[in-house]
Assembly symmetry: C2
Homo-oligomer: 179 residues x 2
């Protein structure tokens, strides 16, 4: 089974595109699930992509909301590449464990598209692991430039298009919004 079509429960959702709202949508789904009393696990594949405030906000919803900051902030220096790859794989191994355990109703793989696109994590293994996840588990992948195979595997794909961005107007990030 490479698609989730035959599953009675649990969707693979993909939020991609260059606009704001990808991780935010994932957090919105977390919000709903937590309101239902369902546990949520969020794994961050790019360290530093979350602002301090977001992590603080997430902690507020513990123990139902679990956040794991993994991976590394990419420096794009070749000297760091080996470390970047190792960190990405470690994050993926952890994500695979969480998915297989099946303790969470929602598993968010935040910014997973990047290490997949850069071949740091094996795309086929990602799709196989997610396709054979426990029933009732929703998996959400966020990040720009989702690969064609990830799009094919997903049940729901929304592309967030950046129509207008506050930085263009010289407005800096706001506490409590934290883009």
């Amino acid at each position: 089974m490479t698609k989730s079509e035959s599953r009675s429960n649990g969707l693979l959702m993909l939020f991609t595109g260059n606009g704001k709202g990808k991780t935010t949508s994932a957090l919105g789904l977390a919000f709903r699930a937590i309101g239902h009393g369902f546990p949520v696990c969020m794994i961050q594949f790019i360290k530093g992509s979350w602002k301090y405030g977001e992590l603080e906000a997430a902690k507020h919803f513990a123990p139902l909301m679990e956040v794991h900051v993994m991976g590394r902030g990419f420096t794009w220096k070749s000297a760091d590449l080996t470390k970047d790859v190792a960190a990405a794989r470690e994050a993926w191994d952890f994500a695979r464990k969480i998915i297989r355990e099946g303790k969470h109703r929602i598993v968010i793989l935040d910014e997973l598209t990047y290490p997949v696109s850069y071949d740091m994590i094996d795309e086929k293994e990602v799709i196989e692991t997610i396709s054979s996840r426990p029933e009732n588990m929703h998996v959400i992948i966020t990040g720009r430039g989702a690969s064609e195979k990830l799009v094919d595997a997903a049940d729901l794909v929304t592309e967030m298009l950046d129509v207008k961005h506050p930085y263009e107007n010289g407005i800096s990030a706001q506490k409590g919004v934290e883009f």
Copy 2:
């Protein structure tokens, strides 16, 4: 002042487009704000657009999260039009009061684009009220087909594009996701 460019705090954000993730993104921002301890008010302009589970989820975060189900589910029958318009205006009057009071850090005007597009609520008044909102208040408008003037007035606009939708695959809405 018709734009928020000169404000030091508080953004007008617009989530539009035909894809999933508009209200969800707004909820994600609510999640972050509540995590910071900031109060959030969500006003629903189209009754019935929210699922039971979402309202239950939101109640879990009271008193910081306030949700007001207003407006009516549109029947598109001319006999109901007067009632639809009256309900939309009542919802807007309430929203205006909430915005002016300034007690909330985030005010979400869920599905406001529809009554504005159908001239049930005066667009100019909406933009003026939001533009003169108290400092530090973020306003989020969601809904398809945002008018050009709403886009012009907003600091941040993301268009959510429906790339793939689970209903196409015959999968019905899931509890805890509730599209």
